[in-house]
Symmetry: C2
Subunit: 235 residues, 2 copies
Amino acid sequence: MDASALLDLLGNGNRRRILRLLARKPCYVTEISEHLGVSPKAVIDHLGKLEEAGLIESRIDEKRRKYFHISENLRLEVTLAPYDFGMKSAYPASPSLDLSRCQYLSLETTRWTVSGDRTDSDASNNGTADGADAAVPDLIEELDELEDLERELSLAQRWVHGRIASVLDRLGDAIDSEESLDTEILAAMADGAADPGEIGDAVGAPPAVIEEHLRRLEHREIIERDGGGWTLADA
Amino acid sequence: MDASALLDLLGNGNRRRILRLLARKPCYVTEISEHLGVSPKAVIDHLGKLEEAGLIESRIDEKRRKYFHISENLRLEVTLAPYDFGMKSAYPASPSLDLSRCQYLSLETTRWTVSGDRTDSDASNNGTADGADAAVPDLIEELDELEDLERELSLAQRWVHGRIASVLDRLGDAIDSEESLDTEILAAMADGAADPGEIGDAVGAPPAVIEEHLRRLEHREIIERDGGGWTLADA
C-alpha cells in the first residue's frame, strides 16, 4: 500500500494502540475495547479501516467469535530534511533475492568507508577551501552515490525485516504460542534477564503477568528453574 | 521528537503536502495557500503545529514578510508484521561518529551473508526437518543477531541521511539557490537527462518550469548548452 494511505492510518493514536495490541496477540473486539478504554463501536470502526487496507485480517474461533490479527508485513520510511521530504512503504524483500544484494551492499559500504579523504574533510566540517569551493559536479556525484547507498541499505533493511518475521513465526510454532509476549520473554532471557522483575522491565509487562507466562513455558519444557531464577532449557 | 507525535503530524495529508512544498523551497503562507487550494487560516493552523513540533521554522524577509522552511532533520521508521509493530524516529548520526560503525556493519553483513547454511535453508522455505524442528535457543540466537543487524542498518541509514543533507546543503550554497528544484535538475542531468522533457519527467515538473530554471543555471555558468540539449559545465 502507498505511504500516504499508511500514514493516514497510522496518524491515529488509537489505531496505533490497536496494532500494538494485535502484535502481542490476536484479539477479540471486546478485549481491544476493554484494554484501550475505547467503545466497541469505535474499535469496530478502526478495525474496519485497518482491515480494508489489508493490514489486519479476522478469523472465526471454535465458538464462532471473530478475532483479529495483523496480516500485513511492511515497512514505512519517512525522511525529513531542509531540502528533502520523502516517504516510502515497502514489503519485506525475499530472503533468496536479497542475499546477493546484501553482499553488494557490504562491498559498497567498505568502498565508501575506505574513501577516507572526502569523508574526513566533510566530517571535520571546518569550512576549508576544499569544502567551500567543492565543485558542483563533484557534489552531484557524491549525492548520486549516497542515494545509491541509501537504496541498498533500505533493501537490506527489508531483507532483515522479512527474516525477523520468519524467525518470529517459526519461534511461535516451536513454542506453540500465538502470543508474542512469550517470544519477547525468551528473547529477554537470551539477553541475560533471569527473574520476573528483570524480564518484566525488558518487555514492559508487570512481574505477575511474566510469572504466569514463565510457568506455562516451564510446563512446556522450554525453560527451567535455575536456583532462584529461570534459564532456557537445553535444546 | 518521538515517533507517535511525528505520526500524529504526518497523519494529515495537507501537512504532508506543506512539507513537500517546503522541501522544494521556503514559502510564504499565501504561496502555500494558493498552491494547495487550502484557506490561509487552515495553512496557518498546520504551520503552527509543525513549528511547535520543531519541524519547521520561520524567518522574516527584507520586506518583513514571514516565510517558512524545514528546520528539522530526521528519519522515521515503522515496521509492521504479524508479531511486530515497532516505530522509531531518529536524528541523523554524526558523520564522524558513524564512520567506524559502518565498518562494523560491513563486517557484520559479510559475516551474515557467508553463513550460507542457515540462510539457504530458510530461503528455500521448504519445510525440511531442519526448519520445522529448529530448536528454540537457536531461533532466539538468530533473532538476537538479526535485531543487532537491524539496529546497525538503521544507524547506517541515519549516517547516510546526515551525509545527504550535508551534500544538498553544500550544493545549494555552491549554486547559490534555496530551491531544491535546481538541485534535482542537476541530479537528473548527472543521471543522463539532457533536454527539458527528460529532466521534467525525472523531477516531476513541467518542461516550461524546467526551461526557466535551466536558463538561470546557464546564466550562472553551472550548466551549458550542448547541441540541442544541456550539459553540466566543467568544474
